[in-house]
């Protein structure tokens, strides 16, 4: 029964992983670079959520404020730092976001509680544990599950059913052709980055609520997991990122269940390296586009 409990925990973790891996894969698909500051954006989102949660004691407000703040930040980053280098060498945006990641971490470490971990306020977490047979699950986990699935379905609807999503997919296919055909590529790029930032913020608040510690260095390990997920599932594939997230959550929880807590990250990385050795495009991956 311990095993079933670990599977339930793994799915919860997987939903959170899936949420920010989707943002990363979306940015890769449309803008053709990997955002190395993704984990740090989750961290900043979690901090914004924390401040609003402390001030208003309302988790919904914290969630929305965090999303709004991160969308604002994301749009500014896209406009000022990423648009100017869109035509540059392909590791330029990669390194710019790497620099950004370090600046975020250092600034938060220096100015926000001196870098000490903080915990989301107790009142808004109030875990009510429900027991279904031998499995225990908190209402918070159920809420996260529902909101996470809802967000992913909304994203799927946006990408595959609306005109905007069609524009995004066309830009992902080929930015120049899409621009020739009348798609405002700059607007789509801005929108994609904003959307990814919003997903970061959502994941950050979920992490803050479910695993209550947040600290300046939480970003890098999370970002690694997201990289692992998108590489393993095939970069640029939204469905693959969700499946990959849940798979990774399950692997980690089961590793913890077997008492291998310290080694679980090694597991993750070894799994990616083996999969890339066998199938370089990832499990759901299609062959790489010609550029990059």
């Amino acid at each position: 029964m311990q095993f079933v409990q670990q599977i339930v925990n793994g799915i919860m973790l997987g939903i959170v992983y899936g949420l920010f891996a989707v943002g990363l894969t979306l940015v890769y698909a449309v803008l053709k670079f990997v955002n190395l500051a993704h984990g740090e954006m989750v961290m900043v989102g979690a901090y914004i959520g924390y401040f609003v949660a402390v001030a208003t004691n309302n988790v919904l407000l914290a969630f929305l404020a965090s999303i709004a703040g991160m969308v604002f930040l994301g749009v500014i980053i896209e406009r000022c730092l990423l648009r100017p280098v869109r035509l540059a060498h392909h590791f330029t945006p990669l390194l710019i976001t790497f620099g950004l990641a370090l600046i975020f971490t250092e600034l938060v470490k220096m100015y926000v509680f001196g870098g000490f971990p903080v915990i989301y306020p107790e009142d808004i977490r109030k875990p009510i544990t429900l027991s279904i047979g031998p499995i225990s699950i908190t209402t918070l986990q159920i809420t996260t599950l529902i909101v996470g699935i809802f967000l992913m379905m909304g994203l799927g609807f946006l990408i595959y059913k609306t005109k905007l999503g069609k524009a995004m997919r066309s830009v992902a296919e080929n930015m120049e052709t899409a621009a020739l055909l009348g798609v405002n590529a700059n607007r789509i790029a801005r929108l994609t980055f904003g959307l990814a930032s919003a997903l970061c913020a959502a994941a950050g608040v979920f992490i803050g609520v479910l695993y209550p510690y947040i600290h300046p260095h939480m970003g890098a390990p999370l970002a690694f997991k997201a990289f692992a997920i998108i590489l393993f599932a095939g970069a640029g594939n939204v469905f693959g990122a969700i499946c990959g997230g849940i798979f990774l959550g399950l692997v980690e929880s089961i590793a913890v269940g077997f008492g291998l807590t310290l080694w679980r990250d090694v597991f993750t990385f070894v799994i990616i390296i083996v999969i890339l050795l066998l199938k370089p495009t990832g499990i759901f991956g299609t062959p790489y586009p010609e550029t990059r």
Binding site: V85, F91, L94, I96, G99, F224, L262, V266, L276
Partner: protein, 294 residues
């Protein structure tokens, strides 16, 4: 006291130059290997264990560098068929694996690391190694293989159609990358006499990236320049101390936005050299004119 301070700055500059060249070398063939930190950690731990067991420094240096080279060669295999961003991520993941292993394995001291490593590094042996590497890099740039690497950087498909064995080149450059980075790790371990897994984290990777891309990633003297400038600026401007990493991040972003090829490229160095030569020639002529007038 004063002398010791200059010596430490010189040695750290040397270590970062070797690390920077380790990152530059695969870049010169279009491979973005960010695993230098992992290789440096392998070199540092291996040589620390060897030296504590009483192996002479030269031997432990060579053994660790070769071990690093083997690690680089092996990490070359999963990255053979990947594109730039995936190579970057797989190599970062490799460094993380090394770091987590160092934290969790007890015979290398866990997260407390290894202390009381014998003190062997001095300015002389660091810069001797740098001289050898510089000689190697100059020869490499003018060799058949170096030109093949350059062709690969420009366009892999064209290079392959010209009969360049891409897989062999990639494995080779990654192996040399591991070799050089492990050398830097060895010098680091025997200078600070104390290593722990936290030394080989993201800050170090960030610094190396910043040095390489600030100086110029297309030419190895550019890397040299980048390290020299960016180590010396925070040493002079002391109030940057807390802000050092933010400063490095900002410099990296600024240089990539303003001059993505870095401060120095091969062309810049040509212009400078011609300029210097012209300036000296002009000076000689003026001197002659003045002497004739007398």
């Amino acid at each position: 006291m004063e002398l010791q301070y200059f010596e430490s700055v010189a040695i750290f500059t040397g270590i970062y130059i070797i690390l920077g060249w380790a990152m530059y070398f695969p870049l010169s063939a279009g491979q973005f290997n960010m695993g230098v930190i992992g290789f440096a950690a392998i070199g540092a731990y291996c040589s620390a264990l060897c030296s504590k067991a009483g192996v002479p420094f030269g031997l432990s240096l060579l053994a660790s560098a070769i071990l690093g080279g083997i690690a680089g060669f092996l990490i070359g295999y999963p990255t053979l068929r990947l594109r730039t961003f995936a190579i970057a991520i797989v190599t970062i993941a490799f460094s993380e694996i090394v770091r987590i292993c160092a934290v969790n394995l007890n015979f290398v001291g866990g997260s407390r690391g290894i202390i009381h490593i014998p003190f062997f590094t001095n300015v002389l042996n660091v810069y001797a190694v740098i001289l050898i590497l510089a000689f190697f890099l100059t020869r490499w740039n003018n060799s058949k293989w170096g030109r093949a690497a350059q062709a690969m950087k420009e366009d892999e498909d064209v290079a392959e159609s010209m009969g360049i064995n891409l897989a062999r080149m990639k494995l080779f450059v990654n192996g040399v990358c591991g070799f050089m980075a492990a050398l830097a790790g060895v010098f680091f371990a025997h200078y600070t006499t104390f290593i722990q897994p936290a030394h080989f984290g993201f800050d170090l990777l960030m610094r190396v990236c910043c040095f390489v891309f600030f100086g110029g990633w297309t030419y190895f003297w550019g890397v040299f320049l980048g390290v020299a400038v960016l180590i010396i600026i925070p040493e002079i401007v002391r109030f940057l101390d807390d802000w050092r990493l933010v400063f490095y991040g900002g410099v990296l972003i600024a240089i990539l936005l303003l001059r993505p090829q870095g401060l120095m490229t091969k062309q810049t160095s040509e212009v400078l050299r011609r300029g210097l030569k012209g300036w000296l020639k002009w000076g000689r002529e003026e001197h002659l004119r003045m002497r004739n007038r007398e």
